[in-house]
């Protein structure tokens, strides 16, 4: 007869993963119902459009963080790479500072620039065995510095109204950024669920030594995961420029906290090995809906940030796997 303790310690990754139903999805539904009751304007087409629009950039960055967190690493270079790519995009499309006119090609180039820095993240991490915390922090600073160097602190205003459709456009009643985010979601989800690479990423977060023993090239997987993240950041950078009408290195301030927070709220453990891509999207929507709902409810701005902080801490406490804290990834 197994003791209760043995049963618990064996499968106690997190109690969340033992529950078949997805608790974050339930939380999202509860939030939507809650806010709908409190303000009739919440459950309107106009607000739905608004939420989809506001959530789209966060969805894309969270897709990247999902992969990286599931792998057991962390990425603090989001703001730097997105900011630099926002600047790059603004300098490539029609703008006031130079005579470039690359149009939508700028989106592709930004993806490549992002990929480059993502590759650097993964390469330095796996080759020199430096913790992802430090590598990505460093790359974040470097990219921010590059952005400031290029622009000397002045945002680059763009004049390409076609390019701005990437953010301002809509198809039917859906905002274009959301459609782009949805497309990227399906691609990343496919990679995660249907490819060996996707399964290895999760396995790495679970127990890296087992993966190594099986002869799987862990360095290659890590580098690829960060590379994919980088491409996503590049796309977000271009989208930000389209949204705000200028390339601004400070525009993505707060993205790191939001992206990691979205993954955690969705149920991806910060210690790795737990979760899947849809959870990150649910988390992104939880965060967006929370902020939107609090504004509609008239919650005092003085406490809004605090409320989000408390919810995040509670969620981490419930999802963290304390056995793994000592291992640095």
């Amino acid at each position: 007869m197994e003791t209760k303790a043995a049963v618990l310690s064996d499968s106690e990754k997190t109690w969340l993963s033992k529950i078949g139903a997805n608790p974050s999805l339930i939380a999202l539904i509860v939030l939507v119902v809650f806010f709908s009751f409190l303000n009739p304007r919440f459950f309107t087409l106009s607000n739905l459009f608004n939420i989809l629009d506001l959530a789209s950039l966060l969805v894309i960055t969270s897709l990247s963080l999902a992969f990286i967190l599931m792998m057991g690493s962390i990425d603090l270079s989001v703001e730097g790479v997105v900011g630099l790519c926002s600047v790059v995009a603004s300098l490539l499309v029609k703008n006031f500072s130079n005579s470039n006119d690359f149009g939508f090609l700028a989106l592709v180039i930004c993806g490549l620039v992002g990929a480059g820095f993502g590759f650097l993240n993964g390469f330095i991490l796996s080759r020199f065995k430096i913790p992802s915390f430090m590598v990505t922090l460093g790359i974040g600073y470097i990219t921010t510095g590059l952005g400031v160097l290029i622009t000397r602190g002045n945002p680059v205003v763009i004049t390409d109204w076609n390019f701005r459709l990437l953010s301002l456009g809509k198809i039917g009643f859906l905002p274009f950024p959301f459609i782009l985010a949805l497309g990227l979601f399906f691609i990343i989800w496919f990679i995660s669920e249907k490819t060996a690479f996707g399964r290895y990423v999760l396995a790495l977060g679970g127990d890296e030594t087992i993966v190594q023993d099986l002869g799987i090239p862990t360095s290659k997987i890590k580098t690829e995961a960060f590379l994919i993240g980088g491409i996503l950041y590049g796309i977000v950078g271009a989208l930000l420029t389209a949204r705000l009408g200028s390339g601004d290195i400070t525009a993505p301030l707060g993205f790191t906290f939001d992206s990691i927070g979205a993954c955690v709220l969705g149920g991806i453990a910060i210690t790795g090995g737990v979760g899947n891509v849809p959870r990150a999207i649910i988390g992104a929507f939880i965060l967006t809906v929370l902020r939107n709902g609090m504004v509609l409810m008239g919650v005092s701005p003085y406490v809004q940030q605090g409320i989000i902080g408390v919810i995040l801490i509670a969620t981490v406490a419930l999802t963290i796997d304390r056995k793994k804290i000592k291992i640095m990834k």
Binding site: R41, N50, G147, N154, T250, A251
Partner: protein, 346 residues
Amino acid sequence: MKKLLGLVIVLGMIIVGFSAFAQEEPVYLGTAIRSLSNPYHAVWAEGATAFAKSLGWEEYNVIQTCEGSSEKQLNDIKALVARSQGNVVFSIDPNQSTDTQAIANELEKSGVYFVTWWNKPDEVKVTDYKYWVCHITFDNRASGYNTAKVLFDSIGGSGKVFALQGLLGNSSSIERWEGFQKALAEYPEIELVGWQAADWEKTKAYNQVSNALVANPDIKAIWCANDSMAIGALEALRARELIGKVPVSGVDAIPEMITAIKNGEAVATVASDAFWQGGMGLSIPLAVKQGKIKIEELPENKREWIAETILITQENIDWYIENYVEGTPEYDWNNYWGKWVRGIRE
């Protein structure tokens, strides 16, 4: 013959020695600001550099950015004092009000003259220090008040208004808000339907205004505590096809805002002339160090004072562009009190 040669050599040495003495010793010029990644501080740095160039001391011009870290700001200042062996003057924009005293104590201890800008706790007195030459700020309350009035007038003095504050802990945010509230009290038909804090940032402002427009679709005008947030608000309005229909105001006179006012999308901003701040912040403590200003002779209202700002609206936008954007006004770095308005405590 030998004696004559000797005399010539000695005379030559005396002449060379005197001419070296007659040139002024270069002094390190330290500017401590938050970050070059925003246009306001970027122009500030240009002003400081222009001042250094006017003296031919470019290699002694040091711009320090603390990127929002109070600790880094203090450490960088200490490091430059050490490196220059005290032969330095500073112009400092303290990261937060609460940092000003620590910085003042450090520089007082090292015997280094300095000027501070914007943030300082009220109880801390510049006159208690021998090396703290001036604290200069701008009338944030007037900025908030005047931009609010122009905004309210632009919608006929009545209607629903939304507001965006900066970082809630910054004194400039608090003071501009006080000015806004004062204007609000004078316009009984203006209704403030809500406000949010967007931390001085464009993207946050975009998100907040997007949500606010759902909560209150009939907002007629948006007041912002700075221009970066005003631009974010304008883009959110553009996304909902309301740009040009809902006027916006800000503070700082960044290039994008100047364009927006010219286009009729925004109605007001305030320029504190960051270029002037950059140069004058160094010129004043340098003048004290060189003995051109005697600190003991300065009255209290010249130790803590408020400097002129320019209110920019659609009425004077062309004048501003002509003089400050397309041209650079002539700056006389020796005119220390040219923009003096009044003492802080008056």
